[in-house]
Amino acid sequence: MPRSNLITSENDIEIGLDLAGDEEEEEEEVSTLQEEQRRERQRGRRRDGDRERKKRKNDRSRETSTAGEGEEEEEKRERGRRRREKSDRETEGRERNTEGNGRGKSGKTEKTRKNIKNEKTRKMEAEEEEEAGERKTKKKKREERTKEREREEEEEKPKLTEKKKKKKKKKKKKVETSSEQESSEEEENQEEDKEEEKEVRPESLTPEELEKLKEAVDEKKKLIQGLRGKPWPMKKKLLTLRESQEFVEKYEGALGKGKGRKLYAYKVMMTKKWMKFQRDFENFKTACIPWEMKIKEIESHFGSSVASYFLFLRWMYGINMILFGLTFGLVMVPEALMGRPYGSIPRKTVPRAEETSAMDFAVLWDFGGYAQYSVLFYGYYNNQRAIGWLKFRMPLSYFLVGVGTVAYSYMVVIRTMARNANESGVGDDNSFNFSWKMFTSWDYLIGNTETADNKFASITTSFKEAILEEQESRKDDNIHLTRFLRVLANFLVLCCLAGSGYLIYFVVRRSQKFALDGLENHTWWERNEVNMVMSLLGMFCPMLFDVISTLENYHPRVALQWQLGRIFALFLGNLYTFIIALMDEINLKREEEKIVKFNITMWEASLHNATESENSTAATVTIIQPADVPRGPCWETMVGQEFVRLIISDTMTTYITLLIGDFLRAVLVRFLNYCWCWDLEAGFPSYSEFDVSGNVLGLIFNQGMIWMGAFYAPCLPALNVLRLHVSMYLQCWAVMCCNVPQERVFKASGSNNFYMAMLLVILFLSTLPAIYTIVTIPPSFDCGPFSGKKRMFDVIQETLESDFPAWFGKVFSYASNPGLVLPFILLMVLAIYYLQSTSKSYKEANVELKKKLQTQNEENKKKNKRAALKAQMDLEEARKAAIKTPEHQKNNNASVKVPEDGDEQHRGSQRQNNCRNGRNLPPPRHQEQPPPNTRAPVSRSYHYGNQGPPGYLPGHPRHSEPRMCRAPNLQRH
């Protein structure tokens, strides 16, 4: 009988091996096995029960059997799992055997395999024995055997699991282990690796194993990628990295078979190369970011807020580069290369009257003369539909570039805003006001002692302010006076705004008069009055506002916002007055144009008459030069010129104020300080601070002017790029050499989106007039790419008609039909409404969830408190009981301190048991009657341990942790 049993058991294993590839089936098999065994056991138990009824011998054994039932099942499953694993190993080994290379290096695995096999067979034997013949044997014996098996398995378990882990080389486990253990383990691992390397040949691997290996390799790769995000010391990281790389390298090549293997190796190699390339590219990209080092230097001297201005400047520079690329590449260069050359037609020639002064520097500086009749301005472009051998559609390109620049700017600004909102949107709530002040207020970039001192002071004030605000809402001593002063301040500011607006309007009107008279008769000031006045206003009004705002006595942050808002209003008012004045001028020019048009027809008629009279057309053609042809005033070019002049003068004022206000001041303060009656550095003039908000505003308005004028002067983005480039260097230099760190150090990120929002508003406001002029005013009749058309956008219509097939035009006309457009707009509005309402509901849900969390938190706290109190009561009872039996204490005092760490888990489980059994259970009963747990001695030591340290804190409720059963933790404190 035993022989056959042995065979069947072998078969069993064989089946297990065969099915090793398929986990599911394996599992099924295991479950069926379990099923069988359970049935068998049940049968046995029934028999046992009968026997017991007869004998009623030992309670203890029954107890264990009932308790052990669940465990047994668990065990079975465990065994199944292990068997699967083992079978893996065995397949490995077997295949190696079949390969026939009897190398003796596989010792370790082989041995374990044998061991496992032996054990297995033994176990199987036992089972079979049970099944077949041992029905009459006593139950005790069987129990003994199961216990034995248990022990065996428990011995076996760690071995196997360790094996498995080693094979997979799970790093997670390693993280937990201490470094010493790790190093030793690593050595082991490496040994194992070597073994495996010899053992594992790709040909001999089963698909499952391959899969596993692949998984392991992937895991390694992931680990390598995530390694930099781990807060380990470098040594550990390096070790891990090297190992895992070694592992990956070792096994990556081994994966795949034959042709697939080659492909795989190739793929691996390519990914490696690709990674390297990516890293190099990343390095290259960071090296290419302009001014990175400069900005970092400033950052370390002045903190992040000053640096944020320069970051903004750089961002602006990027946008302008793209705008410049668009206009330069698609408008200016094609026109210069392929358009008709200079002097071929009237609009491309300097008129006879201006020819003498066209090369004068003063004229060129004003963008008159040759500059006016060049690709820089709208008027130079011809209305020829297609130019050059490329048949480049010049007017269309001009129009589309104009639209494209605006569209691109909108896109970029909105995208950036959205990103900023995403980044900072989370931190909107004020729930961590103090903690943020505490944990995040230091700017680690500050490397300058002076800045650091300022930062200390500002942090202290912010702390004090926060405390004050927390204590009480500050009471105003004289609310009426403050109110009066605030109203007065606003009134004054309004006066300033109105005055500056009127001044600009007046100046523009005056300049028109001068222009009518002819510019030559006037002084330089009179010619540049408008721009100078605007720049000066932009310079001095903010200072005035600053003075006025001291009246108001606002909190600095609020004051800053008011200040920014006022400057914004000033600039906007100025800009719009300027535009309105410009509109007047446009209308004037158009009147003039009408007259000129009439004159031209007259002139042409006279010319015609002359030719008729002379009867020699050829002669007249040669006589009339393009320069002599009378022409209209071309308002578009005029607008473009105005904007260009404005930009130039603005730039100049900025640079000059920088030089005078910062540099000269710094020089004077520095050197006159030696021979002055008071301390200049600490006293009145001192050094200037870098005014972040003012500079950002200046930049924003400058950009607004670019957007407004770019359509009529394609050179504007180029000019702006130049300006930004220069001011980057100039301002960097000025900041580093003549500014002092700010007294109030503001955070950069808080106002980031504020500036962006301003930029968006300016973008909108500056595109408005441009669009208005494009849509409503007909283009000049003799200059620009759209001459001869009724409206500028007719160029689209024209293109549709002539360049696209007929059906397309039809489709387009249908699509632009109001009947289709209106529903579409309606649909969009509905979509917006829908999205907004959903976002609102999400917000509400968020708030709800927050509330829920809070209430749950509170409940937990209450529960903890209750639990802690109960535990305390329990403990006291226990102590009382313990005092009654002091001799126990004496006996066990020595053993109290022994179970420190190892028993902690046991204690925890013990405590949990206590909790579940009801906390009111007095501990003395535990002592007399240990709970149905095999770890009784531990529980005893635990109870004595409670009394050990003399002065423990009895259940301080605040110390309780969220978990119910951890309360007794405290006693060891």
Partner: protein, 189 residues
């Protein structure tokens, strides 16, 4: 003495790149700055430790109130003297670099703020932290009453489980919602 590039080695350089948030240029710069801190005979030895006093002469750390804590946190020295090897120095720069993640930044921030290295921010830690932030001078220092109030408020806000201390997860929770932690927790060479 060889040049910095040859000293670092290509493989090691790429490994450092893999393991830190720094780019190649930044690592080389760090190497340069670090060798400047070494004395002549130390330069020839591999893996030298630079004592904390010399590290603190770096202008980037000079005015930082947490400079000593930073050195202690990143030091792997067994004497707990805050001395740094080059690798420790790289770790420091990596954690404070632009592209480091919030997790790693907040982890190190917590350890920097944890003055007694016991794994939680208790009252004493917070008090020291406030004193660091308000500077050494007497006119900026808070009074005891103010301090008590301030720390009370902070614990009220961020001590979620109400055990009287702020632990790492609570700290990370608070930090993760702050708008400007990542932008200000930076040190660049």
């Amino acid at each position: 003495m060889g040049t910095t590039a040859s000293q670092l080695g290509k493989d090691l350089l790429s490994e450092y790149q893999e393991l830190t948030f720094l780019t190649k240029q930044e690592i080389l710069l760090a190497q340069k700055r670090f060798t400047e801190l070494l004395t002549k005979d130390e330069k020839n030895l591999p893996n030298t430790r630079v004592p904390m006093e010399r590290i603190l002469t770096l202008p980037e750390l000079k005015s930082n109130p947490f400079r000593k804590r930073i050195c202690h946190v990143f030091s792997t020295s067994e004497q707990k003297d805050g001395s740094l090897t080059f690798e420790d120095f790289l770790d420091l720069l990596s954690a404070f670099s632009d592209s480091a993640t919030l997790e790693i930044k907040s982890h190190y921030a917590f350890r920097i703020f944890d003055f007694d290295d016991d794994g939680t921010l208790d009252y004493g830690d917070l008090e020291k932290l406030v004193n660091c932030l308000t500077g050494e001078t007497d006119d900026t220092r808070l009074t005891t009453e103010e301090m008590r109030q301030l720390i009370g408020n902070i614990l009220e806000e961020s001590d979620i489980d109400k055990d009287g201390t702020v632990n790492l997860s609570e700290f990370q929770h608070v930090i993760s919602r702050s708008p400007d932690f990542v932008s200000s927790f930076k040190i660049v060479l």
